[in-house]
């Protein structure tokens, strides 16, 4: 096995036994990025020298016996998480030359463990999109089929993990942006409970929905990353001060009596690809064979999820993105002579079409005369969607569903049709609206060889049952061991 193919936990064992050094591991990854990323297009910035320095520091720590699960482990970071001294573009012309002078909370956490940051990976501009096609920097290709999208918005994260261009990645999820690319690239991605991981240093899209989480090669690695990044942070006032369990402790065998909820509304969804439907149904059978009990549940407001989300998220985005005014950081239109003209010139040239579309939509639904009909109504429906989950979780421990209605589509296929693109987020949006955790893990392949993901959702701060379910499923199946052509 090549070093780049290692999982975090296998690499950790080898580092601990001093069979490999972090420098060797980091060099292997940098060489692989150099050789292969031209065809994948995952990385926006490669922090080679810094990575080598971090690897050397990690090796020194290991030599002194100071090793934790992420010490010396090379990771990639979605390009909207601030990294001190490493350009953070948000895949936007607006921030093309932005170099943060501080680290996000999650980056501080990774550095505390002496993890190695290889570089920053591609995404849809400001995390708005489901295909990474909205990046103003480059296109990212799905490692399983280069003519297809990797999913989005954390497409660079998912592709870099799937193509062994890092051992793990941090992404962010506002409406499915970790889970959907994880599904399309055949890796494990979890959106934690809202408030579980600090958003300090995460460039904001929709603040009541955004959450950082890991994309990894298997479930154990996901638990290791969650251990590292979770926890209260006084710099994020929505961060929640509850104890963080050791997530790896739930990665053990035994599912007896676990109740898995199957939402009747999800499987009657018209746009659901039969291959995805079958893969998810087979996954339920696998879990039943392992001792789980499946129960039918109902999430009656499912059909209103997309409508509620595409009022709330753009509304919050229009407010958050008001800060890009050409004054404090980022792009400025230098030709304009008055302040208002400068604002307009800066924002019109700095933002791409999808970002503009959501700013206009968000400004419209918040504007005088429309606020009650749109924003207030959507927030009420959000309350009902959350209530649906609370009721459902009285009958079950986790909820299972597809992640995306179809496997990855081809580049350019939906680029001109925003509503169709939005409608394909149907299975992932509700977890963000309700603030509950959700994971995508590999559960099958289409006939054409594209990965299919299973979504496992849990109640607030109940990631443990997700890990337990996912770990047992993974142990009983081989999907996570299959890799795209190298």
């Amino acid at each position: 096995m090549e070093l780049s193919e290692l999982t975090i936990h296998k690499a950790h064992e080898l580092l601990k036994q001093k069979k490999i050094s972090s420098l060797e591991l980091t060099m292997a990854l940098l060489e692989r990025i150099d050789a292969c990323d031209e065809k994948i297009g995952a990385y926006i910035s490669i922090a080679g020298e810094k990575a080598i320095d971090q690897a050397k520091i990690a090796d020194e720590a290991i030599a002194k016996g100071n090793i934790s699960p992420l010490t010396g482990i090379p990771v990639s970071i979605k390009d909207l998480i601030c990294t001190k001294g490493i350009r953070t573009t948000c895949a936007s012309k607006m921030l093309e030359n932005f170099v943060p002078f501080y680290d996000a909370f999650v980056i501080k956490k990774l550095k505390k463990e002496n993890a190695v940051i290889l570089g920053k990976v591609n995404m849809d501009e400001f995390a708005m999109g489901s295909s990474t096609e909205n990046s103003s920097i480059k296109i990212t290709h799905n490692p399983w089929d280069l003519s297809r999208i990797p999913g989005g918005s954390s497409g660079g994260s998912a592709a870099s993990v799937a193509a062994d261009l890092c051992l793990a990645s941090l992404g962010s999820d506002t409406g499915g942006s970790i889970r959907q690319p994880a599904s399309h690239c055949g890796v494990v991605g979890i959106k934690p409970t809202y408030g579980r991981v600090s958003r300090f240093g995460l460039i904001a899209f929709a603040s009541s929905l955004d959450q950082i989480g890991p994309l990894t090669k298997d479930v154990t690695d996901s638990a290791i990353m969650m251990n590292a990044v979770s926890g209260y942070d006084r710099n994020d006032s929505t961060s929640v001060s509850v104890d963080v369990p050791d997530y790896t402790s739930f990665c053990k065998k035994g599912l007896n009596g676990l109740r898995v909820g199957i939402p009747k509304e999800f499987h009657s969804y018209k746009g659901l690809d039969p291959e995805v439907d079958l893969a998810v149904k087979n996954a339920v059978k696998t879990l039943e064979d392992l001792g789980a009990l499946s129960v039918e549940i109902s999430l009656p407001h499912t059909e209103y999820t997309v409508a509620a989300y595409y009022v709330i998220a753009p509304a919050e985005a229009s407010s958050n993105l008001a800060r890009y005014d050409g004054v404090k950081y980022g792009f400025r239109d230098m030709d304009k002579k008055t302040l208002i003209e400068m604002y307009k010139g800066t924002r019109s040239q700095g933002f791409g079409d999808e970002v503009k579309r959501r700013i206009i939509l968000g400004t419209y639904v918040l504007s005088a005369g429309y606020y009650d009909a749109y924003y207030r109504k959507a927030s009420q429906v959000r309350a009902l969607i959350t209530e649906d989950f609370k009721k459902a979780f009285k009958k079950c421990d986790v909820i299972l569903s597809p992640v995306a209605p179809t496997p990855a589509f081809t580049i350019g296929e939906k680029a001109d049709d925003p509503l169709t693109m939005y409608l394909s987020d149907i299975f992932t949006l509700s977890a963000n609206l309700a603030g509950i955790p959700g994971m995508s893990l590999p559960c099958g392949f289409s006939k054409s060889g594209l990965p299919i993901g299973l979504q496992i959702m849990g109640m607030h701060f109940n990631e443990e049952k997700i890990f337990k379910t996912a770990f047992n499923f993974e142990q009983a199946t081989e999907f996570h061991n299959k890799k795209p052509m190298r």
């Binding site: 030359n97 170099v99 002078f101 409970t193 809202y194 408030g195 009541s208 006084r234 006032s237 929505t238 929640v240 209103y304 409508a307 009022v311 229009s318 008001a322 005014d325 050409g326 004054v327 404090k328 950081y329 980022g330 792009f331 304009k336 002579k337 302040l339 208002i340 400068m342 307009k344 010139g345 924002r347 019109s348 079409d353 503009k356 579309r357 700013i359 206009i360 939509l361 400004t363 419209y364 749109y374 207030r376 109504k377 959507a378 927030s379 009420q380 429906v381 959000r382 309350a383 009902l384 959350t386 925003p418 509503l419 939005y422 409608l423 963000n432 609206l433 309700a434 603030g435 607030h460």
Partner: protein, 95 residues
């Protein structure tokens, strides 16, 4: 159409965006379709439902008003498109 050409122009100007004529047409059509879908929310009975503004119930996060270190001025200005004498420079506001 659900949202008119003029409404798109007006809202864009509120959001400090200048749009090309072609883009106004495109956005009006696309946003119109999205708003038609959003209108399905009207089918939901929300009488007496308290709007959810956050995913989880939160109370105000207070901290003590203690003196602590903050970013230095040089760092805070390091990404400014234009700066001088420790300040952000903007186009002239008052004639």
């Amino acid at each position: 159409m659900k949202i008119t050409h003029d409404e798109v122009m007006y809202v864009a100007s509120l959001a400090r965006l200048d749009l090309h004529e072609d883009d106004v047409e495109m956005f009006a059509e696309q946003i119109g379709k999205i708003l038609e879908h959003v209108d399905t929310l009207g089918n939901v009975n929300t009488d007496g439902v308290e709007p959810a503004t956050h995913a989880i119930s939160l109370s105000n996060a207070f901290r003590n008003d203690d003196k602590k270190e903050h970013a230095n001025r040089e760092a805070a200005l390091s990404n400014a498109p234009e700066q001088e004498d420790g300040a952000f420079i903007v186009p002239k506001i008052i004639e």
